[in-house]
């Protein structure tokens, strides 16, 4: 079987000049004709933007596309597969398994989920202590208002009762000052992993991300029909995921400013003082809650194939879609 190679649509791919393997020709043509509509002008201008290297791949190599890099062990190739002996090796499947999320990222993602939940919940138990609206000292910090005018105070009493928060302060302190280490270490390992594996380049936004994010948001609200091209994440995802990582760092820094406001007083002072640091810590928590709601909604809308990839790492894709594994190889 002869495979052709097409260049993927993202700038990074064009720049590094290394092709993705094994796109069957018809799909390659298809993908490219689509790609050519989406190329930005700079990449076309340098004469390299769209090229097609008619490199014939050996059969075994081209079957990598079934499961990038792992075809030998996984034998997802028709003909190689004992369970499908009748199939001719000359028929390539229209779909393949793409390695979407590395194992380490999946573990860290799922560890973070209950740990962040624990931090938010235990933080709420601690914060209840300063929410004594019914008595003499309504809290000054956790509110929306200017000067003496207050629009909203966090939180109303029905909310506290629903959360069973009253008088669980020491429980909150216990959980918070234990799981803060898990949250911090897991988060730091995640950032280090993305840096050293190169995965950061899927996540960190670039110049186009904001425009893409707007297009994606318009599409989500059915105000537009076109979607910009993407590899692993679209512009909105890049901005959201990068923001939430920065917010995590912010929670660690504001947390330290609250935890050690004397010994680390320069951090507290830089953040605007003790009360401001507490307010910022709280606001970031609200941000995590908002992120969580949108994230879960989007995951539900994106469907099973996408959700499953955060557990198994693999996503079923039409063969002509850009391969993430090929892009990873292109990082060198």
């Amino acid at each position: 079987m002869l495979s052709l190679v097409h260049r993927p649509s993202m700038d990074e791919r064009e720049d590094n000049g290394r092709p993705a393997h094994g796109q069957p020709l018809a799909e390659a043509k298809n993908a490219i004709s689509q790609t050519s509509n989406l190329q930005n002008t700079s990449s076309q201008a340098d004469g390299e933007g769209i090229s097609l290297d008619p490199v014939a791949q050996p059969l075994a190599k081209s079957t990598d596309t079934l499961l990038e890099g792992n075809s030998a062990t996984l034998s997802a190739v028709p003909g190689d597969t004992p369970t499908a002996p009748a199939e001719t090796p000359l028929v390539s499947p229209r779909i393949r398994l793409d390695k979407k999320h590395p194992l380490a990222i999946r573990w860290m993602h799922w560890i973070n989920f209950p740990v962040l939940f624990t931090m938010i919940w235990s933080g709420l138990l601690i914060y209840w202590n300063d929410s004594d609206n019914a008595y003499k000292h309504p809290h000054a910090v956790y509110r929306i208002g200017v000067g003496p005018f207050t629009l909203v105070r966090f939180f109303p009493e029905w909310f506290w009762k629903a959360m069973n928060a009253p008088y669980h302060v020491t429980q909150g302190l216990g959980y918070h000052f234990f799981f803060m280490w898990v949250f911090a270490i897991n988060g730091i390992l995640y950032v280090l992993f993305t840096i050293f594996s190169g995965e950061w380049s899927f996540v960190v936004p670039d110049r186009k991300s904001l425009k893409e994010a707007i297009q994606v948001t318009l599409k989500d609200f059915h105000l537009s029909k076109t979607l910009p091209p993407q590899t692993k994440y679209n512009g909105a995802q890049k901005i959201a995921y990068t923001s939430v990582i920065v917010m995590g760092m912010g929670s660690l820094i504001t947390g330290l400013a609250i935890y050690k406001p004397t010994q680390a007083h320069w951090v507290t002072t830089l953040l605007g003082g003790y009360e401001m640091a507490r307010w910022e810590h709280f606001l970031l928590t609200m941000g995590f809650c908002g992120f969580f709601l949108i994230h879960v909604t989007q995951v539900v809308l994106a469907g099973w194939n996408n959700f499953r990839s955060m557990v198994s790492g693999l996503e079923v894709k039409p063969v002509e879609e850009p391969s993430l594994e090929a892009e990873r190889r292109s990082w060198g």
């Binding site: 028929v91 229209r94 779909i95 302060v169 302190l173 216990g174 004397t262 010994q263 007083h265």
Partner: protein
């Protein structure tokens, strides 16, 4: 580079086995000669089979992982309590304190503020303050002093000193403290039904016990009867250099206020009455303090007591301390939460044992270092 479409036309013949995927953009049917749909479907099915194999395996591992996570929470929840904290959390408090001492060494100075930013401190927590102390009857009991007999204030039993009160011992709550479950009246305002009910039963059974004693109980570090030491008067204290401080008071409840404090440094008192070496030949590492009747008590590292901002306060906001702010002598330590800043100090004891601490018994951190 060449036009991709031109290149493709030649190569397309060779790839013509590939039909257009149903899910994606259709490729013109001219370049896609028919192939047996059954073969194509079988090829796709093989991929999906592979996918399912991975999915089953991954979700099995995920289930084990989730069970392990649940197990960790169960382990914490069911572990033995040490001072009302599950053991892993109490150990974490201690490890955090150790790390904090190692990194910060409790030496940093808290930021000071301009005097005009100082506020009136709110009253919060009245344990050991409910009765009105007769000012003339106040003495500071000081034990563990080196060569104590050489001081004129030496007595053979500091514990025999009698504090006099202007009123009889009251069993009424005075003020509300949100760190612990409130009385039934207070609870009704915002606590869950179950808590209100439990509080009512408790009050009916026990009457209105003073809340301080009811909750944390007596101190394990209080002096044995007949302990010798010094009985210092306020004049003895005021002989030490006076210092003013405008620093932030931080309550573990979350609120904070900038306060103008005046008084003497605890470090100066300790220098004037230096501690005796213990039986192990070492200087005591800790300082224990309690109110005159022992209702409230705190433990400190000696190092924190030697901090230049740890103040024995006689005035707040330029006025003498009031009863519920701890007259005649209270502590301010900007490196600690408010619950360690004891009001109405009756006893200061140098000790080699880590002293008992009121709120530690109720689940809070002993170190409480800011």
């Amino acid at each position: 580079m060449t036009d991709p479409d031109n290149e493709l036309t030649g190569a397309a013949q060779q790839a013509s086995r590939q039909p257009a995927p149903e899910t994606a953009k259709p490729v013109s049917s001219e370049v896609t000669p028919p192939i047996a749909p059954a073969e194509q479907d079988a090829a796709d099915a093989a991929v999906l089979r592979e996918s399912r194999k991975h999915t089953r395996r991954s979700f099995a591992i995920a289930a084990v992982g989730a069970a392990a996570g649940y197990g960790i929470y169960q382990w914490i929840d069911h572990s033995q309590r040490l001072s009302m904290q599950p053991m892993p959390f109490r150990r974490a408090f201690q490890a955090n304190a150790k790390l904090s001492r190692a990194i910060f060494d409790d030496r940093a100075l808290a930021p000071a503020y301009p005097l005009k930013r100082a506020e009136d401190l709110r009253v919060n927590g009245v344990y050991g303050l409910k009765q009105t102390l007769v000012p003339e009857s106040w003495r500071l009991q000081l034990t563990g002093v080196a060569d104590a007999r050489s001081y004129p204030q030496y007595v053979t039993a500091v514990t025999a000193w009698e504090y006099r009160y202007a009123d009889v011992k009251s069993h009424e709550d005075q003020g509300h403290d949100t760190k612990v479950a409130p009385s039934a009246d207070t609870a009704e305002k915002m606590a869950p039904e179950s808590m209100v009910a439990a509080e009512k039963i408790r009050q009916e059974r026990a009457g209105r016990m003073p809340r301080g004693l009811e909750e944390a109980g007596r101190s394990r570090s209080t002096l044995d009867p007949g302990t010798p030491g010094l009985l210092l008067t306020m004049d003895d204290i005021l002989k030490l250099p006076k210092h003013d401080l405008v620093t932030q008071f931080k309550c573990i409840e979350g609120w904070s206020q900038i306060v103008h404090w005046s008084g003497v440094r605890l470090a100066d008192l300790i220098a004037a009455y230096p501690p005796a070496k213990g039986v192990d030949g070492r200087l005591p590492r800790y300082v224990y303090m309690e109110t005159p009747n022992g209702d409230y008590y705190v433990g400190y590292d000696m190092k924190v007591c030697m901090h230049p901002q740890t103040l024995l306060v006689t005035e707040m906001g330029g006025s003498p301390l009031t009863q519920f702010h701890g007259a005649p002598l209270r502590l301010h330590a900007p490196t600690k939460y408010g619950y360690k800043q004891i009001k109405r100090i009756g006893l200061i004891a140098y000790t080699g044992q880590q002293p008992d601490d009121y709120w530690t018994k109720l689940g809070y951190d002993w170190y409480a270092g800011l």
